[in-house]
């Protein structure tokens, strides 16, 4: 199917009244949760997963994708007005956006962010259209070895990029892989780690695990933080940026689109890293870098464009290879799996309506966001009056009722509660749930293909490196490990944390910030994180997977 035919089919799907409604609901929810600190896109998508059972597969992806890129818009609003990032990818926007607001230029800051996001998102959709089909054609040639290489690469990159402690992230990834083996072995039918509990024969439910770790865990964690209702002081006027504003930021928007697109495709990339990278790039290119941090409009336009572009291009590896590059996409991948859709290179051929429908919906969604954001910013700001405690109470009730509705099974509610506790303890002890969930989702693919490769190669491990494609990927993996280890040691010598991008953060931040460095933002209120030394650690992080019934 050519691009024109595909887009034709896509728009016929996306313009279906039901789907238009769900695009709208998606981007609206996305903007709202982007505004509300404490409930990020990951938590929201996790909480809404049960709903996708009721929807057609394409509709559910349209909805969830809308929430994802919608939240990128919404997070900007609080960053600019309150220096309070609604989700992690917007942390960078606080640097110059808040300064602009203090100078009475909140309107143009929000306006240029909305326009930049629209352009970045739209260009990334075009890139997705051009890049995805040839990549999928290539992927059809993949054998078991290539899948092992790709999934392992994905997990590795998520643990190395965008996390503060690669070893801790790797530890969580291993735990995720292990948890994925609970239940019947697909090949032999042997029950594994089931402890003779009937409920565990089918394994842990992905929805329950994700809702527990991200939804309940996040809510519990935020409960401990003291919070107060925020007051908006600056009035917003002249939201449409001036001609000079456009001229100043056009370069930043163009570069942000390209940068965001490519960083989004990369496993482990996503919003946080692309907005940081764009900020760093604009600051380096500027004639007068000292303007940055004091209200430079490029410092808002570039990162906002980049994080939106990346949230769109992140769909490339998912829709062509069946590999989710970050945690949010892992949740969307899970939503497709529970709807019985086989995600992989064959998706474009077997389910063209999903591929093209989602793409077309992104055009529409970005347009809606532009229309929603420019005139309605004032209304969204009012949402900040809703207190976190009320939100938490209702979100928990939705979680409990929602997870029950998936299998009509009380056991899943206990799983959510258990993983909620684990997720909360993980946050308290600096372990990140992202790599765990990603590995949990990819675990079955990785195991099946690993065993297949082992059987066909008669147990020879060199099968992974002698095939050109998988060999290349493993070589890349080795490169990433060597590079990050060397850089980590270097940084440690200079007394800096051993994580990628932490130096960019230090360079970019005019004040002490420690953005929530998850693979993809969950809470995103990391900028206010106050981590004290010492203190006890809980420690039931690993815990049993068994919830006592």
């Amino acid at each position: 199917m050519g691009i024109a035919d595909g887009l034709g089919e896509g728009f016929s799907v996306a313009l279906d009244p039901t789907n238009i409604l769900y695009v709208f609901i998606g981007v609206l929810i996305g903007t709202v949760i982007g505004v509300l600190p404490g409930l990020g896109p990951t938590a929201t998508i996790a909480l809404l997963l049960p709903l996708t059972y009721e929807l057609e597969p394409v509709t559910s992806v349209i909805l969830l994708a809308g929430i994802y890129y919608g939240s990128m818009y919404g997070g900007t609003i609080t960053s600019v007005l309150l220096q309070l990032p609604g989700e992690a990818a917007s942390v960078v926007t606080t640097f110059d956006g808040y300064q602009m607001a203090k100078q009475g230029r909140a309107g143009p800051a929000l306006g240029i962010a909305a326009v930049g996001s629209f352009i970045g998102g739209t260009l990334a959709v075009v890139g997705l259209i051009l890049l995805a089909p040839p990549l999928a054609d290539l992927a059809v040639e993949f054998g078991a070895q290539e899948y092992v290489a790709l999934t392992a690469f994905g997990i590795l990159l998520v643990t190395y990029l965008g996390t503060k402690h690669p070893v801790k992230a790797l530890c969580m990834a291993a735990l995720g892989l292990l948890l994925a083996t609970i239940g019947q072995d697909l090949t032999t039918g042997t029950g594994r780690f089931t402890f003779d509990q009937v409920e565990l024969f089918d394994g842990l439910d992905f929805v329950a695990v994700a809702m527990g770790l991200f939804g309940v865990g996040e809510i519990l964690y935020n409960l401990e933080k003291t919070e107060k209702a925020e007051q908006i002081k600056s009035r917003i006027k002249n939201i449409w940026p001036s001609r000079k504003d456009f001229k100043d930021s056009s370069g930043a928007i163009a570069r942000g689109s390209v940068l965001g697109f490519f960083l989004g495709v990369l496993p482990g990339g996503g919003g946080v890293i692309s907005s940081l990278a764009s900020y760093g790039m604009e600051k380096r290119r500027a004639k007068d870098p000292s303007r940055f941090g004091k209200g430079a409009i490029e410092g808002v336009a570039g990162p906002e464009t980049a994080n939106n572009a990346s949230s769109t291009s992140a769909f490339v590896p998912l829709l062509t290879l069946g590999i989710p590059p970050n945690v949010v996409l892992a949740l969307i991948y899970g939503a497709l799996l529970i709807n019985g859709v086989q995600v992989g290179p064959q998706l474009i051929d077997t389910n063209p309506e999903i591929f093209w429908g989602v793409i077309a919906s992104m055009f529409i969604g970005n347009l809606m966001l532009l229309a929603l954001n420019i005139p309605l910013v004032g209304i969204f700001v009012q949402l900040l009056r809703v207190r976190g405690g009320i939100l938490a109470a209702f979100a928990l009730l939705i979680t409990m009722a929602g997870v029950f509705s998936v299998n009509n099974d009380i056991f899943d509610m206990w799983v959510v509660l258990a993983f909620g506790v684990i997720g909360w303890l993980m946050k308290k002890t600096g372990f990140e749930p992202g790599p765990l969930v990603l590995a949990f989702v990819l675990g079955a693919i990785l195991e099946t293909n690993f065993r297949r490769a082992m059987i066909t190669s008669d147990g020879q491990f060199d099968t992974f490196v002698t095939r050109p494609l998988s060999g290349t990927i493993f070589a890349l993996m080795a490169l990433v490990i060597v590079y990050s280890t060397v850089m980590g040691i270097r940084r440690q010598r200079r007394g800096r944390p051993p994580a990628l991008y932490s130096d960019q953060l230090d360079a970019a931040a005019p004040h002490e910030t420690a953005p929530g460095s998850e693979a993809e933002g969950t809470a995103g209120v990391g900028a206010t994180g106050d981590r004290a030394d010492g203190g006890g650690s809980p420690g039931a992080t690993g815990g049993s997977t068994r919830a006592e019934p």
Binding site: K168, A174, R192, F193, I390, A401, I410, T429
Partner: protein, 147 residues
Amino acid sequence: MSKHLYRLAPLVLLLFGIAAMLQARDLSLGEFSSPGPGLWPFLCAALLSLTAAVLLIVDDPADYEPWTRGTAGIALGLLSLGIFILLFQEIGFIIPAVLMLLIWLRLFAREPWRWAVPLAVIGAVVFHLVFVEALGVPFPDDIVLGG
């Protein structure tokens, strides 16, 4: 002693990993050329144990947040969720939902009674309508609605 308390997390993970390795071995590992059901879990558990062992030595104590008074509140919140699940199983959705919302709105959101009570009742009824009437989810029999 309390200086090393933060090492508890990697220690628990390490013990968990070793226990899983032993379990996996009992499932039969097979050969690499014909993997048994235990081989893959064994490899994952080995990676878990290895990384946990590394963390036991190198982990940064600054990464761990101290317990606060809020922690006790969280335990209470968890207890309320557990009770919610038990009651939900026995007497249906509405009463447990109202109770849970009340507890959370009063304790954690610190809403005054005149807001907490109507919010809790309306919230529970709306969720009941959405899940049971609109989405057709078969909640356990409800004593309020006479099941």
